[in-house]
C-alpha cells in the first residue's frame, strides 16, 4: 500500500510512491540510491545512518518514510554542496580519519551538525557531539583531529546545505 510522499532531499524536491512504514534508511539507500548513509545496527545504537532532518541530526533507521513528508532531509551526499561540508570532508581525508570508512558518513553528519552550531568546538565538545557514532576500527583520535582541522579553517556558522548555497 503505497502513498506519494514529498520532501526536500539535499536541496531538491522529491516525490516518491512508497509505503509510509518503509524505513527512511531503506527509502534513501534502496529506492533513491543514496547509499552514503549506512545501516550499522538498525536499532539506534551506532549512528552510521545519521542524517539531518530540518536542522536536527536524526537516525534514518528509526524513522519511517511517512515521517519525512514535508521535511528537509540532508544526507552525506548533500554535504559537499556547502563550503563547511566540503571543508569537513577534506579534513577527514587530510587527517587520515578514515579506516574502513563504514561509520564515516554518520560521523561527518554529526560533526557537520556540531560545526554549524558551534564553529570552534573544544575536543571535549566534539567527543560529546560524536558520542552517538561508533567506530569499530576505534580510530576516534584522528576523527576528532579531523573535526578540529575543519573548525580551524572556519569562516563562520552555516545553515544546512540546500544546493542553492553551494
Amino acid at each position: 500500500m503505497s502513498t506519494d510522499i514529498e520532501f526536500e532531499l539535499n536541496g531538491k524536491p522529491v516525490r516518491i510512491a512508497t509505503p509510509e512504514t518503509r524505513r527512511a534508511i531503506d527509502l534513501l539507500r534502496e529506492d533513491l540510491h543514496l547509499t552514503g548513509s549506512k545501516e550499522g545496527c538498525g536499532a539506534g545504537e551506532c549512528g552510521a545512518c545519521a542524517v539531518l532532518i530540518g536542522d536536527e541530526i536524526r537516525l534514518a533507521c528509526l524513522m519511517l518514510a511517512g515521517q519525512l513528508a514535508g521535511r528537509r532531509v540532508t544526507t552525506i551526499e548533500g554535504l559537499p554542496h556547502s563550503a563547511l561540508g566540503a571543508r569537513l570532508l577534506r579534513a577527514f581525508a587530510e587527517a587520515g580519519a578514515v579506516q574502513c570508512g563504514y561509520c564515516i558518513p554518520g560521523m561527518e553528519m554529526a560533526a557537520f551538525d556540531l560545526l554549524r552550531r558551534e564553529p570552534d568546538p573544544s575536543r571535549e565538545r566534539i567527543r560529546e557531539a560524536l558520542s552517538g557514532n561508533l567506530c569499530r576500527c576505534t580510530g576516534y583520535v584522528k576523527i576528532v583531529d579531523a573535526v578540529r582541522l575543519a573548525a580551524a579553517g572556519d569562516a563562520g556558522p552555516e545553515s544546512p546545505p540546500d544546493g542553492a548555497a553551494a
Binding site: E20, T21, E45, G47, L62, G66, A110, S131, L134
Partner: protein
Amino acid sequence: MTRFHAAHSLTEALALLHEETDTRPMAGGTDILVRMRRSPPAVPLTLIGIEGVPELQGIREEPSWLSIGAATPFAAIAASPLIAAHAPLLQDAARAVGAPAIRNMATLGGNLCTASPAGDSLPPLYVLDAEVELASKAGRRRMAVSDFILGPGETQLEPGEILCRVLVPHAPPIARCQFEKVGRRRSLAIAVASFAGLLRVDGAGRIAGARFAFGSVGPAAVTVPEAEALLRGQLAVQPDPAAVERAVLAVCATVRPIDDLRASASYRRALAGNLLRRFLSPPSSPGLNAATGHASHG
C-alpha cells in the same frame, strides 16, 4: 506493521486511535520501532504519529506545576531554562539519554510509555512526585507517575488513550539533588543502575524530607521510604554515618535487581547502596567511579 498515519492535532490523533482496533501512538519511535522490528506484532498495527501534534509539545510554567508536553524530545528538556530552574534532576537525566540524535527523537512521554526498568527519566519523576495526564475521547485523567508504571513495559495507558502531559508539581525548595547513571559507557548506554535523590532541609540545616529513587534495580523505579525516614532530622551536610549506613542497608534490602548481560544482581544491589552513600557523603569526597554520569546540584 502495516500502516502509519501522522496526526496533526490531538483531536485527530484520538480519532485515529479510535478508528481502528490495533493502533499504537508513536512519538519519536526510538523504542517502538526497534521493538517491532525485533519481534513483529502478531496482528498488523497502525502507528499513529504524534510527534507533530502541537498540544503534546512544549514546556510551560503553570500555577500548580511545570507542564511538559509528552512528545517533547529530550533535547528540548536538556536545553530548557524552565527545566533547569524547576527540575534540574530531570534535566540531568535528559542529558544522559542515548546520544544527540536519539535525544532529538526520543520523548519524555515515550520513555514513560515504554516503561523500561532502565528508563532514565523515571527516578527523577518519582522523587519529584510527577504526575501524568492521559487523554482519550472520553476525557482526561491524571495519576502519579509511580501509579502509571506497573512493571516492565506495562502501564495504565488504555487503548485509545494518549499520554499528553507530564506535570511536575511546584514543591518546597530542594537543598540538594543529584542524578547519576552508571553504565558500561557514557553514551548510548542502558543504565546498569541509576539514582535520583533530593533533600529538603529546615531552618537548622536538618533534613526535613529526603527522596530517593533507583532505576534498573527492580521491575520499575524503586523508592525506599524506610531509608528516607531514617535520614529525617540528620544534618544535611554531615549526616550521622550510622544513620547513613542504616539507610544504605535499607536500600540494599529493598531493591530487586536481576542478572543480565550488563551486570549481576549482586553488583547492582551493592551499587544502589553506594550511590546513596555517595549522595549523602560530603560533596568534597572523591568520586568512586570515573564511568558514571555524575551531576549534582546544591
